[in-house]
Amino acid sequence: MLSPKSKPSYGVIVVPDRITKKDYDTVVIGGGPAGLAAALKAREKGLETLVVETRDRLGGIPLQCIHPGFGIHYFKEDMTGPEFVYRFIDKLLSTDIDYTVKSYVNMAEYVSPMEKKLEIITPYGTEIVRTKTIIYAAGARERTRYEIGITGPNPAGIMTAGEAQTLMDMYGVMPGKKILIVGSGDVGLIMARRFVLEGAEVVGVVEILPYPSGLIRNVQQCLKDYGIPLLLSHMVISVKQRNGRVSSAVVVKVDENFKPIQGTENEIECDTIVIAAGLKPRTKLLESLGAQIDPRTKGPVVNEYFETTIPGVFAAGNALIINDYVDYAVEQGELAALAATKYVDEKGIRIKKPVKIVLGRNMRLIVPQMLTLTSDALFYGRVARPEDNVWLSFKEIGFKIPQLKVLPSIMIRQKIRLDKLRMLETDTLTVEVIPRD
């Protein structure tokens, strides 16, 4: 099965031949970490697998993440994004997994439980492919200035962190010299440091919350070590321009309800505004299939197999839920692949008892949102507000795990074994954060 298709090719773009097969057990949509991990696991389990990637190469977002911090959980090693993702790419290239790049799934149709039809546009032409399952791992997109209410003119020089990162670290292009960063999540913090390391001036990082949203170690290593000011409880309300390029940002202090405080406006000069205000799962194709979308995660509603409300269509990675670590995306990809294998082998995922997950006290979002009660369940969730010394409680089964500190920016990951879940007598399971005494 692992007959080599081509030699490992670290960093070299390999353009695959036109795919010839028309039927697959699973089609993985997205060639980033979640998709690659899913494909490898699916093939390992014997599924005929195709990976579809829109860009000209496999790898996804880690290709542009030249900072360390990748693989700490999965490989127990600290790597850069490209190092991390090339472990998967090289492995994939040594298998007979089919993949296609510059390829876009234009349409997906649910024909029957064991047949989904995909129309894929490629430079070779339109491919019509039939598959038993789909693993949707198309990643996320970044929120834009318009979604966070920045008004003013529409000049050049306002871009998302990912766009700036693509320019700098894939294409060697310097997008600005005097940078203001909006958002103090890890992406914003890392980009602040990245700009300084390239000789740019970072005039500040603006955060609407009263505390930084990134990891404490990143606040130290990316901002404090370089003397970059962090403006907490502030937001950018508008921009000004000169000759078509941004020339300054109007920053204002906000109250506890995130409403601007009159008279605190301050103009900060900059030639570039980098928006690092969070990500949104990409769900267009899932929506076209009729999959239910969770307004909290903005991703699909799934069961413990990461199966969406469309039978045989699974989701993983940032297309499922916005993850803190690439390791989680990989984990979800592998779990989705195992679930797809089960689906193919058993002709579907059976439900023992449908259970709805309910968000209780101080829980903002969670996946899975429902259970079949046929397997262990791995929960990923986020709290609504920071709290110390609490229980993470799965109420109806009386299961509690102590937590020293919970933060919205730190994802909660908790596995619950099937034997525990089986104790459930109701058809809902409430997940909540409660004080420890």
Binding site: T54, R55, D56, K102, Y104, N106, E119, I121, T122, P123, Y124, G125, T126, I128, R141, E142, T144, Y146, E147, G149, T151, G152, P153, N154, P155, A156, G157, M159, T160, G162, E163, T166, L167, M168, D169, M170, Y171, G172, V173, M174, P175, G176, K177, E198, G199, A200, I237, S238, R242, N243, G244, R245, D271, R282, K284, E287
Partner: protein, 496 residues
Amino acid sequence: MYRTIIIGAGITGLSIARWLTRYRGLQVIVIDKEPDVGWGVTKANTSIIHPCHEEHPDKHPLRSKLCLEGHNLWYKWVKELEIPAKWPGEIIVATNDEELKGLHKYIDYAYRIGVPGVRLIDRGEMLRLEPWINPDAIGGLYAPTAGTINPMMAAIAIAENIVDNGGKLLLGTRVEDIVVRDGKVVAVETSKGGIEADIVVNAAGLYADKISRMAGIDDYSIHPRRGQYLLFSDRVDVKPNKILHTAPTPKTKGVYAITTVDGNLLIGPTAEDLPEEAREENTTTHQGLDFIYEMASRILRKLPPRNKVVKTFAGLRPEPSTGTFIIRFHEKPWGFVEAAGIRSPGLTAAPAIGKHVSKLIIERLENIEPRKDWRSKRQAIPRPAYMAPRERDKLIRENPDYGWIICVCRKVSLGEIMEAVKRMKKIGVPEITLDGIKFRTHSMYGDCQGSQCRPHIAYLLWKRLGIQPWRITTKGDGSKYAFTEVKALLRGDRGA
């Protein structure tokens, strides 16, 4: 050969130019200060082809006539030029008795101008016609002929057709003076040198009064009236089929809610009178956007949340001090023509303004005859993602770039982007801009506003055409996309 120079490559100037290319004996040149067509008033408006029943036939006889004639010409133009358009009809939604009473007069206007099918409808029929209307509304006025087009696609299509018929565009060229000798216009001085002219047409939009003054005409002035808009994702469920708007006021036609030809919910505009000097103040404000959101909620059953907005923008309208269109052929100086103060319904009227102005010119010239070889047709850039597979595959076989979707929000292929660049060069843009590509292909136009595809597009332009990303601009002038290459700042090179 009479040389005709048209100042302003907006929808008005281009429509005039298109009509003039139909004649032999005329050389048609369109000048604009911007590096592309349609970047002034044309770029940001409500994109409606009005039925024209809201024009006062006595106060604005010319405007109402041109509006209706323009409306009828658009049916033909959108087909000839493959401009995205639809004709769903419109409803003015009344939310109280006073507004409802105010609608009666439009039936009279419609009858006198000749707008078909305009009638009052009761609440029940209104909600059946358009279920997205707010059930609190009490009645409305239905005008079945209203349509909407993509104005930028229209400007681009007309520009391509002009060039195809031998007309010339001088973009990125600023008019500095108009030379009058012996009571006649003889030349235009520009930032790129002087050009002799027999006829000079002023279609300069927000700057028309300044151009007129260069020819010694100063009996009117222009001030900008700003309109702000919110554009929602094409994936929100609120998609009114009909064009909806609040009851008109003396200043505006009200706040609209429409599903654009591109499938986005668009709400707006405000109508803010700005001082004369604020002709580049196309900026949005929190106050303005909040106002629109509030007004739109009166006519819609439900509004998508504000975080479903993909873009907010503002446009400026040239509001003339005379309050109405200024369209005239001057005898003094002879050969100076104005199509100024083209405020709403300027987009609707544009083809008719073009016809009217070209007539004013032609009837004063000798030996001008219609051309037999005039080409009425122009083809749009193919959009493979929206084609049937067989047709698409034929296109991809000829050019595999059409098989690589670069912009996933709007499903735009590399082939479309490269074709847009080719066409930009053909009409003579002085530089390739990212906005120029955006308006032609709708890449960078979707939910992510280009954050995913723009760097790749810039990179591919670099690799394919040698345009370095720090040389390309978003919208010309100083709007550079990037500054330099990575490491250059560390070397002490601060870039351009």
